[in-house]
């Protein structure tokens, strides 16, 4: 199947992946998902054949118990999509059809990341803030302090200090059996539960630790979702067009901060790339240059990442607004006006 004509009420997954899988019953009940990504260059960092093998085995076990387990699987299906198929999104309508062109199959083939970008454009085009769950989709387990082992279905490899996972009592080696009552076949299944979790929900977990099974509850603090990093996502390219005018930004390294006397707690975003064409060249036309250091952005305080910048601007400034950005260039301070898209 191509993304063209895809049933968006059934197939809800992370559209920034290069490999994704669904395990289904013939009646379209979802047993689970597979496919996780956390890095732009290394698409396979969070996946392994061993993990896929275990997910397949787990799916067969769920299938062998079906339909007595139907209730536990109900939450694996998302809400009915506002747009039934991708080509009905306003930004894709007229550009793509449900079937591929025989003459130009590649050009007429919609890439999955285009679906994710189209979801965000719905809000931006109507001058509304992009909701947090659309801007930060498919949270990685690391957002709650968990590093899961890609060679297993959902086994904890590390727990971050001070995280929600540590406060809940999770430990390295714990096997997550279910989250919010849903059986887990993969890291993607963990992400699905987090993806559907509201701002301050509590998430119940069934955990196997050695020979024991425990019930644990994860308490999520407001803003937990925006602790994630979206800079690796293909769809973030379009967010940069909207919020930076085509700049790619990177938090200035400590060594460079020392050289430029910027301190380690202040905002200092290095311009790594300046877009050269069309709507990705708006910052270039505004006077931004590669190597500039952004030191002032409306509403952004203290040391921040590119993701922080995007989240702040896309939540508070609408298409057509202009913002003044403070920039250091070879030690000289400049103020540049950027029109947002």
């Amino acid at each position: 199947m191509q993304a063209n004509g895809l049933d968006l009420s059934l197939f809800q997954f992370d559209f920034d992946l290069t490999f994704a899988a669904f395990f289904l019953n013939a009646d379209k009940t979802i047993y689970g998902r597979f496919g996780t990504r956390s890095d732009q260059k290394d698409a396979m960092r969070e996946m392994s054949m061993e993990g896929f093998d275990k997910a397949l085995e787990g799916a067969l076990q769920i299938h062998s118990r079906f339909p007595s387990n139907r209730k536990t699987l109900a939450g694996k299906r998302g809400p009915t999509s506002r747009y039934r198929v991708p080509e009905l999104f306003p930004s894709l309508n007229g550009r793509f059809t449900a079937k591929l062109s025989k003459q130009q199959p590649a050009r007429s083939c919609m890439h999955c990341h285009m679906v994710g970008a189209a979801m965000r454009k719905v809000y931006r085009s109507s001058r509304k803030p992009i909701p947090e769950d659309v801007l930060f989709p498919w949270p990685l387990p690391s957002v709650v302090g968990l590093r899961l082992d890609p060679k297993h279905m959902a086994t904890v490899k590390e727990v971050a200090r001070g995280s929600a996972a540590e406060r809940a009592g999770l430990r390295s080696g714990d096997q997550l059996l279910s989250l919010s009552g849903q059986p887990l076949l993969s890291i993607a299944d963990v992400q699905w539960v987090l993806h559907r979790t509201r701002a301050t929900d509590r998430v119940s977990a069934r955990v196997r630790r050695g020979t024991r099974e425990l019930d644990i509850e994860l308490a999520l603090k407001p803003g937990w979702r925006s602790g994630g990093d979206i800079s690796w996502r293909t769809t973030t390219w379009d967010l940069r067009r909207m919020a930076t005018g085509g700049l790619v930004l990177e938090d200035l390294a400590d060594a460079q901060r020392l050289k430029t006397k910027l301190g380690t707690r202040n905002l200092a975003l290095l311009v790594k790339h300046v877009g050269q064409y069309g709507e990705h060249a708006v910052a270039k036309r505004a006077g931004f240059q590669k190597g500039d250091i952004i030191v002032e952005v409306p509403g952004l305080r203290g040391r921040s990442s590119e993701t922080d910048y995007l989240a702040r601007i896309l939540a508070s400034k609408m298409r057509g607004d202009s913002i003044m950005i403070g920039v250091l260039r070879r030690g000289r301070r400049l103020e540049l006006r950027l029109r947002l898209q």
């Binding site: 199947m1 799916a59 590649a106």
Partner: protein
């Protein structure tokens, strides 16, 4: 894993073919189906057929986007 795959109805989907010249990309999309289907294990971009096969055989479905 081969045994497990055979216990599952397999559906494969072309997700994207990035970074090739347009003609090469067109050829790659055309050839994708030809390389995937002949072995008889995969159903290419036909969910209703996959679901019907799953219903007939009593097997679950594995849908792959790549």
């Amino acid at each position: 894993m081969r045994l497990r795959l055979m216990r599952t109805v397999l559906i494969v989907a072309a997700m994207s073919v990035v970074g090739m010249a347009q003609n090469k990309r067109d050829d790659a999309v055309r050839k994708d189906r030809e390389t995937v289907e002949p072995a008889g294990k995969w159903i290419y971009h036909d969910l209703p057929r996959g679901l019907a096969e799953a219903k007939r055989s009593g097997r679950p479905v594995l849908v792959v986007f790549r």
